[in-house]
Symmetry: C2
Subunit: 224 residues, 2 copies
C-alpha cells in the first residue's frame, strides 16, 4: 500500500518551492566558497546528540578553528544558549510549524553572523529524518548523526536522508554494552542506500572517537 497520489497542483507547488530553495542554496554555496568556509549541515532524529557533539567540538577545537553556528528548532533558543556558552557565535532559527531549515533561513542567518574567512559554519537542522533531506542549504557536506539507541534499521526506513549524506556520525557508542545493537548491521544498511557514505563512531559525552571527527573536519576544509 502506498500513499495516495497528491494533486497536480501540490506536486507543482512542491517543485516551485524546491526550485526556489535550490537556487538560494547555490547562492549560499557561493558565499561559503568566496570565504573558504566549510559549511556542515547536521541532520538527525530528535535527541541523537547533535548539540552535544557541537558543544564538545567547540570546547575542544574552538581555540584553533573559528566556528559560527546556526541552530534550527521548532521552538526555544535552548540550543543557541548551549552553543553560546561553549563560546561560539550563534543564530537561532525557530521554524514554528516548519519541520526543516530552508536555504532562505540560512541565507538570512549567514548575513547576520558574517562568518570569517576560513571558518567552519555548523548548521544544526531541525531534528527530523524525513523533510530536511529534501532541502539543500548550500552546505559543503551533509552529516547525518545517528544514536545507537535508535536501532540499526533507520538507514533503510529513512533512505533519502542517508542517501543524501556524506558522513554518518554514529553517536552514543558508550551505551553499546547496555544495548542489543549491531554496528555492522547499521553500516551494511546505510551502505545499501549510499555506497559512498563515510562513518565515524563517537561518544560526544564521554569523548570517544572525537579526535577522528576533528581530523575529518580539518581534511574537509577548503584550505586542506
Amino acid at each position: 500500500m502506498t500513499a495516495p497520489e497528491p494533486s497536480k497542483t501540490l506536486v507543482e507547488l512542491e517543485r516551485d518551492i524546491l526550485d526556489k530553495n535550490n537556487r538560494l542554496a547555490e547562492r549560499n554555496r557561493g558565499f561559503f566558497e568566496a570565504r573558504d568556509i566549510l559549511a556542515l549541515n547536521l541532520v538527525s532524529s530528535p535527541g541523537s546528540g547533535k548539540t552535544a557533539l557541537l558543544e564538545r567540538t567547540l570546547t575542544d577545537i574552538g581555540g584553533k578553528i573559528n566556528f559560527a553556528v546556526i541552530e534550527g528548532d521548532q521552538q526555544t533558543s535552548r540550543d543557541a544558549e548551549r552553543i553560546a556558552a561553549a563560546g561560539s557565535a550563534v543564530v537561532q532559527i525557530n521554524t514554528g510549524k516548519g519541520c526543516h531549515l530552508e536555504a532562505s533561513m540560512v541565507h538570512d542567518a549567514i548575513r547576520q553572523l558574517q562568518p570569517e574567512g576560513n571558518s567552519v559554519v555548523m548548521i544544526e537542522n531541525v531534528g527530523n529524518l524525513v523533510c530536511p533531506s529534501l532541502f539543500d542549504l548550500g552546505e559543503s557536506k551533509r552529516v547525518v548523526v545517528i544514536s545507537i539507541t535508535e536501532g540499526e534499521d533507520k538507514p533503510i526506513k529513512y533512505p533519502d536522508m542517508f542517501r543524501s549524506a556524506d558522513l554518518c556520525v554514529i553517536n552514543k557508542i558508550d551505551l553499546l554494552p547496555y544495548l542489543k545493537f549491531d554496528l555492522n548491521a547499521l553500516r551494511d544498511y546505510a551502505l545499501q542506500v549510499n555506497p559512498k557514505l563515510e562513518f565515524l563512531e563517537v561518544s560526544a559525552t564521554v569523548g570517544t572517537g572525537m579526535e577522528a571527527w576533528y581530523q575529518w573536519i580539518q581534511q574537509a576544509r577548503p584550505s586542506a
Copy 2:
C-alpha cells in the same frame, strides 16, 4: 529570528489539505465508534521504540484483546513483518517522500484490515516529532513515545506534538543508570506545554512498567 512568511497560496493550500484531512479523520472516528474500537495513534522520534512496545504488547495481551495494526514508514515493511510475527493482523503504509500518515491512508487501511468489534487498532505513525502532530487520523487517543536517550527538553522543542497527545510513554527506562537524564525535568517540560498529559514509564525490551500500560489500554476502551 523566525521562519519567513510563506506565500498566501501555500497557506491556503495547507488549509485545504488539513480541512480535507480533518473531514476524513472524523469519518475514521465514526467507523471506530460504530465498532467500539479503541484506536491509538502512536507518534515519536525515529527509534524511540514504538515497534518494540507494540511487539511486547501483542505478545503479552494479544490473547486477551483483538488487535489490528497499521504501520507507517517512509520505506520498508520491516515493522509490519515484526508485528505479523507477533501474531497480529497488520497493514504497512509506505509514505515514500511523505513524513506523516494522513487520515485517507488510515481510511484505506481499516477497510483492508476490517478490524473486529471491540478490538484495539494501533496506528504506528512515521517516526517524526513535527509533521504528524498536524494530522488527525480519527484516533481515540494520541500516544507520544519518548526514549530517555533523547534528552529532557524534547517537549518544549517540539511542543505541538506533546500538546496534542493524551499519554506520554517514557520508554527505555532500563537505561536510566547509564545516562544523565532527569525524569522530573521531562515531566515538567511536558506539563508546561500540556497540563493534562498523562505519563507512563516503561522498558519495552525488559518489560518494566508494561502492566500499567495494559491497564491504561483496558481503561481507554469504549467497553470499559
